[in-house]
Symmetry: C2
Subunit: 325 residues, 2 copies
């Protein structure tokens, strides 16, 4: 047996030093926090509200593998309990307002304090753009889980054999067409749609295309109809799929975004800035809990490697590329 | 209200036509199958054995968010039950032996039959390379969950304050060094390690580097020591992290692999071949259930879009790039 000694010579890190701030407590943030607690990373987990994000409004979740038919708030509770069991917690009502990448580190400024972590995971999710801004309607949430949905792939299967209206992204109409009896799509008509589509395709049918002003949602208990330009159209479901990434402060900080405002990441969830990772809905479609949970796990392990690499580099060790993130 | 008619004119697909084969029933495969059942994709879900893959040997899983402290076989049972509830099932003991990409389609040849699906999800995972081949030792599985682990990030946290030996990837030693009291690493010494590391770093200490022949694992009930070149070294844990992707048939079929034999995918889990996606461990590190589940979900939604796009194209509709996968 030949013995080369403990030649990496890493000293035990200062356990008080802040290593990571996780921004946003949705599925991706919880996943990252659970991993970081298990991996003994010294982190802070901040949320602008009380945690859970869009999952709070999910009526029934059918597609988180291994957990059948759970309501959104229950899943958030399960995430919170899991995190507590491994020794972590969310700091609620502490929104991050600014992010700066400075020589030798990162600055994260919340409504309470400025932090200097070595790494950041951005997991702030996205906002649903409702009907208020464009159509002045305010009662869509009365029908949430009773006809109104914000997620085509999640809730489309619940509308088999039914009639639905899609607002937002024309592609969603195509997805819904496979799943439902009839799809109406309301939205702007790209010019090439009108000029390029052969007549026989127009005449065949089960997506219909509407233009006009959405004036009302109607229904006693569940959604029963929408009113477009004065005409009442019976529908069982309404899919509102316009999204906003809410990534202004990250763009300002220098993170590269795609055309739709989502943060560009690689397969390790690394952004264009060293030490900054992103996970979950803010990295783009599809907007799924399973994807967010997976990306949160990957991002936290990338941070763990990044922190390890940084310490090795500080000790003068020239890292080989294959050990880089 | 102006009305342009149902101009996409998609006809209802032939529900008997096989749309997808999912190859491999680990976490990624189950996730994809659950999604595809919900989305009404006509698919087959094949496994070479009875499903579950490496999760079957996981003693305790602490890091699947929302599900605390579950044993591997229990998690597989939960996946299977979830899949049954949404109407799907695994075809066990039907290994895929060949894959061909031919003009206009794909050919998947199993030990029983040849299929012609429109899309494929490869989720065959990876193999753990045990101690048998290199060291001729056959008793490592006696200590599984009792000291022996195949996953640094999963089980490292269980060894806080303990002594461990890592075999395989030197980077794992660095990861373990953060989590445990002392790490020994057994494996080949890259020449640059010897030449580049400053003496003061060699003298500081808590990873030690060993060379030699692993001759035995010892311990009454739990692992207590390893024997290297005749010397007994007390350890609490042994991490064996060498992996093999087992992607020969996919390489033969023309899928691009990285240097370590993992299938190269983009963020939508698309490979270099149209209609072929990959998910889970076979797409590379980190090897985590959460990552696999997330990638299975993303791959299935990509397939759903691919199938929709293919039908639109067949109808003569010139898809805009932004609707491509």
């Amino acid at each position: 047996m030949s013995y080369f000694g403990g030649f990496y010579g890493l000293e035990k890190r200062d356990v008080d030093e802040l290593e990571l701030v996780i921004i946003g407590a949705g599925a991706a943030g919880f996943s990252a926090a659970i991993y970081c607690s298990l991996l003994d990373v010294n982190y802070l987990f901040l949320d602008a509200e009380q945690g859970g994000g869009l999952i709070n409004i999910a009526k029934e979740i059918e597609n988180y593998p291994g957990v059948v038919g759970i309501r959104g708030p229950e899943l958030i509770k399960a995430f919170k309990e899991h995190l507590q069991q491994v020794g972590g917690e969310v700091r609620a009502f502490e929104p991050v307002q600014e992010l700066h990448f400075v020589a030798g580190g990162l600055l994260v400024k919340s409504n309470r304090q400025t932090y200097r972590p070595k790494a950041v995971i951005v997991a702030t999710g996205l906002e649903v753009l409702g009907l208020k801004e464009e159509f002045g309607l305010t009662n869509e949430r009365d029908y949430l889980g009773k006809g109104v949905s914000y997620c085509t792939e999640c809730d489309g299967p619940l509308f088999k054999g039914k009639k639905v209206l899609a607002i937002g992204n024309p592609f969603d109409a195509f997805l819904l067409q496979r799943l439902t009896e009839r799809v109406s799509y309301l939205g702007p008509v790209p010019e090439e749609f009108r000029s390029q589509v052969p007549r026989e395709i127009i005449e065949a049918n089960n997506i219909e295309y509407l233009e006009g002003q959405l004036e009302a949602l109607e229904g006693e208990n569940c959604l029963e109809a929408v009113v477009v330009d004065g005409a009442r159209i019976p529908v069982d479901g309404l899919f509102i799929t316009r999204r906003k990434a809410g990534s202004e402060i990250f763009e300002k900080a220098g993170l590269k975004l795609d055309d739709d405002g989502f943060i560009i990441v690689d397969r390790q969830m690394a952004t264009n800035v060293a030490g900054v990772y992103a996970a979950g809905d803010i990295t783009g479609e599809p907007w799924q809990i399973a994807k967010s949970v997976g990306e949160g796990a990957v991002a936290s392990l990338s941070v763990f490697r990044f922190l390890t690499g940084q310490r090795m580099r500080n000790l003068g060790w020239a890292l080989k590329d294959e050990w880089e993130i």
